[in-house]
Amino acid sequence: MKMFDMEIDGRAVRGREGQTVLEVARDAGIEIPTLCYSDETEHIGGCRICSVQVETNGRKSIVTSCSYPADEGLKVTTNSPKIRKMRRTILELAAVNSGPDVAGDFFSLAREYGADLTRFSSIVSGEMRSCILCGLCVNKCREATHDGAIGFVGRGVHKRVVRFPEKAQTCANCNYCNNICPTGRIKQGGPDPPFPTVDDVLSGRA
C-alpha cells in the first residue's frame, strides 16, 4: 500500500493511498468536525461542516475533507478564522430546518463555534423538529432492514424523513438510527421511529 507525506496544520503526517483527508487527520489525532459522516455507513458528504482548505501545486481551495482524496504533498489547514466563520454559518443555516432545539454533536458544535441557531428563524424556518436531513438514519435503516422502515421523500426544501407504517414490522429495534443521529432527534430506537408517516407528509397533514 503506497504511503506518502503530507501536512496538516503545519504538522507532517503520513497518509495511505485511498484515504481521504479526514481519515488521515483522524489517524494523526487531528480533530475535524463532522455531522453527516460515519465510517459505519455509506458516504454522504452533505453537511459540509468538515470543510478545510487544501493547497496543491500552489493553488488553494476549500474542499470537504470527508470526500477529498489525500495525496502526496498536500497542505491542509483545518482551522483558520475564515474556515471557522464558514462552519459557523453552515451551522446557522442547518438550524433553519432543525430549529434551535437540538442536542448531541450538533449542539456541541454550535456551542463551540458560537453559532446563533436562531439567526435566520425570523426570516424563514423548516421542519423545526431537530432534523438536519443528514440522511444517516435512513442509510443505516436501509442497511439493517433492506427495505427501510424510514426513508426520505421529496427534494430540496421539501425533503423530509418519514416512516412507512406498512413496513413497521421490519423495524428490528436495532437502535442503529438513534445511535447515529447527530442532533438528538431520535432519542430511542424502534419500533416507532419518531417521524410522521409517509401519507401524513405527502398529503400535507404533517
Binding site: 435512513v138 435503516c141 436501509r142 433492506h146 427495505d147 427501510g148 422502515a149 424510514i150 426513508g151 426520505f152 421523500v153 421529496g154 427534494r155 412507512f164 406498512e166 413496513k167 409517509v198 401519507d199 405527502l202 398529503s203 400535507g204 397533514r205
Partner: protein
Amino acid sequence: MKLECSHCHYVWDYRGENRFYATCPQCRYKVKVPQGSAEKARPAQATLTKEPVKLRGTAAIVGRFLDRHGHDKEALIQVLLGIQGSVGWLPQEMITEVSRQMEVPYSQVYQVATFYKAFSLAPRGKHLIKVCNGTSCNVRGAQKVIEGLERKLGIGRDETTLDGRFSLETVNCIGCCAMGPMITIDDEYFGKMTPANLDGILGRFR
C-alpha cells in the same frame, strides 16, 4: 368553497379536491381546508381507503414493464415512468410490487418516486394541464396565464378540480421557448397563450 389565505388574506373559490390543504393562488402558501365541510372531496391520496380505481393484476402490469425495460435496478425510473404512463399515477400497490420484483429497497422506490416531479402519487384529473414557467415564457407573460388558469379552475398548482376534469401543474421548460407562453394539455401543445384564449381551449377538453 370559499377559502381565505391566512397569510395574504386572498379570498378565492376553491374547487379542488384536496381534503387537507389548498395552495393559495396569490402567495402559494399552504392553506388548511376546514374539516367536515359540506362538500365531500374525493380522497386525493392513494393510500387512503376507497380509491376510485381498484387495481388488479399489479404483478402482471409491473412484470410487463420489467420485460420492456430490463430487470436491472438501473431501469427503476424507466419502469416507474412506464407504469405511470399506463395507469395514470403510482398507487402504493405498484410501488410495493416494483420494490418486490426489482429487489430495490422499498424506501428507495419511494425516494425516487417523490424526488422526480414527473411522478404523481395521487390520481390526477382526466386532463393534465402543464404550464411552462421557464425564463422565456415567464418574461412573455406566463405568470398571467397561470393566474388566469388558477382563477378559472379554482385550484392551485399541483391540484385537481373536484370534478376530476383538470389537474394543473407548472413545468420548467418544454423546449418551445420561441412560442411562449406555452401550455400543454394531455399531448397537445398550445403556444402564444394569453388569459383571453384560455376559455376557448379549455372548452375543447370535456
